[in-house]
Amino acid sequence: MFGMSIDQEVFVQQVLNGLTIGGYLALIALGYTMVYGIIELINFAHGDLFAFGFLFSLTLFEYFNPAAPLTGADLYLLLPFILLITMAVTGGLNVVIDQIAYRPLRSAPRLAPLLTAVGMSFALEAIFAIWKGATQIAYPRYFPTKDVFREWFDLEPVIIFFTTKDVFLLSVTIPLMIVLALFIDRTRIGKAMRACAQDREAAAMMGINVNRIISMTFFVGGALAGAAGLIWGLYINSGRFLMGFEAGLMAFTAAVLGGIGNIRGAVMGSFIIGMLKALSDGYIGGEWSRAIIFGILILLLVFRPSGILGSTQSIEKV
């Protein structure tokens, strides 16, 4: 295709993979970064919301039981409906988690809520394991898979495989990120969130209901993670109760890379991490990807904890 050699096509394929990995990572990373921005807590249980989105949307699909590749009304009405419900319920779960595990410790030392977050994460994982079993769970291939280059454009690539699923993934994640950016930049609630992130006490004095805004933040973050879970299900077609742990760590790395607390940074960091993972999967070997990404996380936290877009002033005492 376009006169590319096989090696070049392999590279292009890895870049495309990187884009899709970056897409769902960004949705998870946004939740981390928003919560950190507002209450300076690493929400360790956030990755598990992603797993919850996966499992819950699977349950919904099983309930409605549509025919396996969705067509017609199923594709254009049922799928968005399930996406919205999943987002709402996952967001609600995140608010409940905040109420149970973090709110009582708002004024406690910083490590206390981190420990409850770890506890929450493990409890959630165990509940998932009881709920759906501890084995690999198959997610039916609901989304119709068509090869974009071959069937839409009549091109004949040798290696490159870019399907409607990839298009779906990007066409859900990117608009969601844009909506989120607009929500935070343009609406009154978004303004209140930014105010709380800057200075919670001052925001409270200005008449902002800080507790409500924190709940809103948890809700939005959870909803995005839920959407990521559903997208993962449709895209990868399998998952496990523990999938949230690893995805969560990668998303956290992405959020730190972009500068934790910075929305745009989280998106950028996710795409960089996605690329890195895809390239290391392709060229070094998938078994080393974990070590590479965690190595990056360590180096980042040690040498530039403010990330790429974070300001160096805002993080004190590091």
Binding site: L41, I42, G119, A129, I130, A134, A291, F294, G295, L301
Partner: protein
């Protein structure tokens, strides 16, 4: 909802200490029942569960009562009591095993190993206040060092009694290496970095199965080489501390004489060990040269290493004219019980001594307020590094003994869950409390290994009760942090502070 929870929390904290503990344990256990009820797939035999749960609560209460009672006794009676309990335990446990058909002694051995590990984590988390979420990494380093040193295919086959100390040194060096870059970090970032290290180490171990090494040393380490390793490790640690304390750019401002002395000692030791090796190159301490190897299976990959070295008493056998390997210990749990009691005892005494030492006070000073401690003349960097090194060395020692006891190690043994189990032991028992971690570690590990792994599956053979384990542990960590942050068996001063509401 928030107000209710806060109110509940305050009301709970106003209760007397022992009632708090009862409520906490009860709430902790109620979670299982609720989790079981919520889930329709599992049809629990509720009465049986409640019955067993009550037994467990009773055990906890008795342990707590004993814990409080022993603390009041005079010191020498304390030692005698604990000593008698410790020495007679295997026989009592053996009898209980016959009565109940549950494997108890091996679980107690495992629990004691976990107590030793938790003591190491307690140094880092409890004394120095550095949250380490990847502590299993040091456990893995200890166990794998032991594996590499004693796995027959590696041709080193160091004696058990030497290898465990080498493992402790290697782990503490790794503790410094991992600790050094993280010292500038604030609490939660430090937690994530240690977590990342904890994830990297098993990954690396898994991938080092077929690693191409150019050379490997093929000589039998003798006693002097071992002393050399110990001493060189100690010197290296010292040097590292010194280099990190000042900036590396400032190397020239290091006290020259000290540096020269260090180098001289290392050189002398190198020469001495070389001479010794030549002298000792007879049948027993055979010296081979470095040998070219194309592929070396360093860690065994995902299959792991097996069999590993067991303690053997060649010297005793030879001097009493016994048959070779007649004292070699296989899988006798009673022997292992005493071996582990010995090692865990050393670690406990060390932890107890550290608690009251100058260093221990420095750790607590840094934990409470790093800046103030720095002004008072405590060097925070050195203090924190030593916390990492000492914590890791406990873990290395325990890891080596564990590896030898199991006889096989593989990367799955050192997952993130192990780090969290240890963290839960420390937090639930009371951060910074040596005796608390001993009692809490025993209760939690036995609860895990006997109640969750044997009693529950026995009561409900068809149900996946194993999954409940993390509902328990996760919810337990959560409830303890919300309702009783000082833990079940806290340090007395800490408990007093908490009850007055002076400390948060």
């Amino acid at each position: 909802m928030q107000n209710n929870l806060t109110l509940l929390r305050h009301r709970f904290q106003a209760l007397p200490s022992n009632q708090q503990q009862l409520v906490a344990v009860g709430g902790f256990l109620a979670t299982t029942v609720v989790a079981g009820l919520l889930n329709q797939v599992i049809s629990f035999d509720l009465l049986k569960l409640i019955y067993l749960t009550l037994i467990f609560i009773t055990c906890v209460v008795i342990a707590q009562w004993l814990f409080n009672y022993i603390q009041i006794l005079p010191r020498n009676i304390q030692i005698v009591t604990v000593g008698i309990i410790a020495l007679t335990a295997p026989f009592i446990l053996r009898e209980l095993e016959k009565m109940t058909d549950f494997g108890l002694l091996t679980q107690v051995n495992r629990a004691l190993i976990f107590v030793a590990l938790a003591q190491g984590l307690n140094v880092v988390v409890g004394f120095a206040g550095l949250l380490d979420l990847g502590y299993a990494a040091f456990f893995a380093i200890g166990a794998y060092t032991f594996g590499i040193l004693t796995w027959p295919s590696h041709d080193i086959e160091l004696s058990f009694f030497l290898a465990i100390w080498v493992c402790a040194v290697v782990a503490s060096i790794f503790g410094m290496i991992i600790g050094a870059p993280t010292l500038r970090l604030r609490g939660d970032y430090l937690a994530i970095v240690t977590l990342a290290f904890g994830e990297i180490i098993p990954t690396v171990v898994r991938n080092l199965g077929d690693f191409s090494f150019a050379f490997r040393p093929v000589h039998y380490l003798n006693g002097l080489t071992f002393i050399f390793v110990l001493f060189a490790g100690w010197l290296l640690i010292n040097l590292l501390i010194r280099v990190i304390r000042r900036d590396i750019v400032d190397m020239e401002s290091l006290q020259r004489d000290r540096l020269v002395r260090t180098v001289a000692i290392i050189a002398v030791l190198l020469i001495a060990s070389g001479v010794m090796r030549v002298i000792a190159s007879d049948r027993e301490f055979e010296l081979k040269s470095w040998e070219l190897v194309e592929d070396i299976n360093l860690t065994g990959g995902s299959q792991g290493l097996t069999p590993l070295g067991k303690p053997s008493f060649r010297l005793v056998e030879e001097s009493f004219g016994m048959e070779k390997n007649s004292l070699r210990v296989g899988v006798n749990p009673t022997f292992w019980y005493y071996a582990i009691i010995f090692v865990t005892g050393i670690i406990l005494v060390a932890a107890r001594r550290l608690d009251d030492s100058r260093l221990g006070r420095a750790w607590k000073a840094v934990r409470e307020d790093e800046t103030a401690a720095d002004f008072m003349g405590v060097d925070p960097i050195r203090t924190k590094l030593l916390a990492f090194a000492i914590g890791a060395s406990f873990s290395g020692l325990a890891g080596a003994v564990y590896a030898s006891m199991l006889g096989a190690i593989f990367p799955e043994l050192f997952r993130f869950q192990v780090s969290i189990t240890l963290l839960i032991i420390v937090v639930l028992s009371g951060r910074g409390s040596v005796w608390g971690v001993l009692v809490g570690g025993l209760i939690i590990s036995i609860f895990d290994g006997v109640y969750l792994a044997q009693v529950l599956p026995d009561a409900f053979p068809d149900e996946p009760v194993e999954s409940l384990r993390w509902v328990f542990f996760g919810a337990g960590l959560l409830f303890i942090m919300v309702f009783r942050p000082q833990g079940l068996f806290p340090v007395r001063t800490k408990a007093r502070e908490q009850n007055q509401g002076a400390n948060t």
